[in-house]
Amino acid sequence: MRKRHIALICYFVILFIPIYWMINTSFKSDAEILREFTMFPKEITLKNYVEIFTSPVWRNSFINSIIYVTMNVVITLIAAIPGAYAFSRWKFRGSHHLFFWLLTNRMAPGAIFIVPFTELYYTLHLYDTHLAVALAHCLFNIPLAVWILEGFMSGIPKEIDETAFIDGYSFPRFFGKIFFPLVAPGIGVAAFFAFTFSWVELLIAKSLTITDAKPVVVTLTVGIGAEGVKWGLLAAAGVLTIIPGALVVYFVRNYMAKGFALGRV
């Protein structure tokens, strides 16, 4: 038992050293970063953070990211919940193939989709909008959400549906009152994965935006290379991009434990 705990603590320490290093760097001045090697900032400076919060470019790109990620989660769930319900309740001709086809999309190389995506969204006059990025990210998020939700929904006996209908529930009322609360943990897990992916994705988000919807991940990349790398600034921006994610994990932590336990995932 002892040994197990020590090994676990070691793992968590190793897991967090790189993140600690980034936080550490974010509170140092550029001079200190380059001049000496310190495990803790000698003089804590908030200069890097102040620079980010006062710059409209950084602020806007943070807002852009939050907008399209939220849109993506909403679209993903709206499409995936009924879809997963259909897969879990009705076996129709070709349903297996359709399910596997959905999954293959998750395997697709993001890199090559850039050019077709660009052409497509130009044609639809959606280029450089939040909606374009949100829709494009559905390519990866809907398959995963359908898979996760289908697992959860298959775990709920069909008899529940049938009993509800016999009791005179209309479909929407059954869905809202009975079914939805039952699959809520699954929806939490699916939303978590959709949020995560959309928040961290760089390649597609980068190629579908210029200025109006430019996400924070892209702003970060631009900072590298130009006029010598500002490590402190990049580290501070990196720390800030982790915060929304950490908040989301914190809020869904119970769902996650419960959800992971219930679903076939």
Binding site: F16, P18, T25, L34, T104, M107, P109, I142, A246, F260
Partner: protein
């Protein structure tokens, strides 16, 4: 019933057609044409595929990718299982562990690149300092072995938590009664693991292996930021290779590579899925 299913699936189908099917057809179309910017695409049949399959650069990128993906699976899956087994099952520490494990997954890919750049950069990083202390001249930017190895360790660091979370979920669904029964039967720790735990983890492990395999093919931002694909081409993994070709507007070539890429990943996933599902059926009848 069938009509209703179609109605329910309609949103999925519409969105997926827009963001998956149409672009995929476009890519297939690219792969069958010679495309140069400024002139009309010219239909060439399978000529692009022939060119790709004969290209030593492609062979290198593919070999590098397969070695990388194999290593990723060989390390992350067992490590993930072990950590999941060691995690506390209940109480406050269980929630804390889950939250902590979730954090690396939520760092944007390019921030992961930046974290590791800060960590390994020869003038400001921790790793070169520590290894330098032991007399090893580590240099992620110039050494063709250090660079891919660093990307590999980065991937293990970044993605093992996902495997842990999946396995942890699987473990939670095993009733305690199973373990009690194994204990009464006097099963050793290993036997309990092999015959009770592992079969019950099958479905989450299928998902874990598939996700890690697919996603290891997608590694892009991390090598781009950390090493830029170099030194030489030692960290030019498949996605980076494809996107370089697409960026230099060799769309026919890039299209063909993508189709081959998709073919490899789908065939592997399908075969793996079938085998694992059959093993599962065999196991259940026992």
């Amino acid at each position: 019933m069938n009509n209703r299913a179609v109605l329910f699936l309609l949103p999925v189908i519409v969105i997926m057609s827009l963001s998956a099917f149409i672009p995929l057809i476009t890519v297939v179309n690219y792969s069958l044409h010679y495309i140069f910017s400024g002139s009309m695409p010219q239909y060439v049949g399978l000529a692009n595929y022939v060119e790709v399959l004969r290209d030593p650069e492609f062979h290198d990128a593919l070999t590098r990718q397969l070695v990388f993906s194999t290593m990723v699976l060989a390390v992350e899956i067992p490590l993930g299982i072990m950590i999941a087994l060691a995690l506390p099952r209940k109480g406050i520490w269980a929630s804390i562990s889950l939250v902590l494990l979730g954090i690396p997954l939520l760092i944007p890919y390019n921030v992961v690149g930046i974290v590791w750049r800060l960590f390994t950069q020869s003038d400001i990083g921790v790793i070169p300092k520590i290894l330098g202390f032991f007399g090893y001249a580590y240099n992620v930017a110039l050494d063709p072995i250090d660079a891919p190895l660093t990307i590999f360790i980065l991937d293990v660091w970044h993605w093992t938590p996902l495997v842990v979370l999946l396995c942890y979920a699987g473990l939670q669904s095993i009733p305690d009664a199973y373990y009690q029964a194994a204990q009464i039967d006097g099963a050793s720790t290993w036997k309990t693991f092999r015959y009770v735990t592992l079969p019950k983890l099958r479905s989450v492990l299928i998902l874990g292996v598939l996700l890690r395999f697919m996603d290891s093919f997608k590694i892009y931002s991390e090598p781009l930021l950390l090493t830029g694909g170099g030194p030489g081409s030692s960290t030019t993994f498949f996605s980076l290779f494809v996107s370089r070709k697409a960026e230099s507007y060799e769309l026919g070539y890039a299209g063909s590579v993508s189709m081959i890429y998709l073919f490899i990943v789908i065939v592997f996933s399908f075969v793996f899925f079938q085998i694992m599902t059959n093993i599962g059926k065999g196991g259940q009848t026992k």
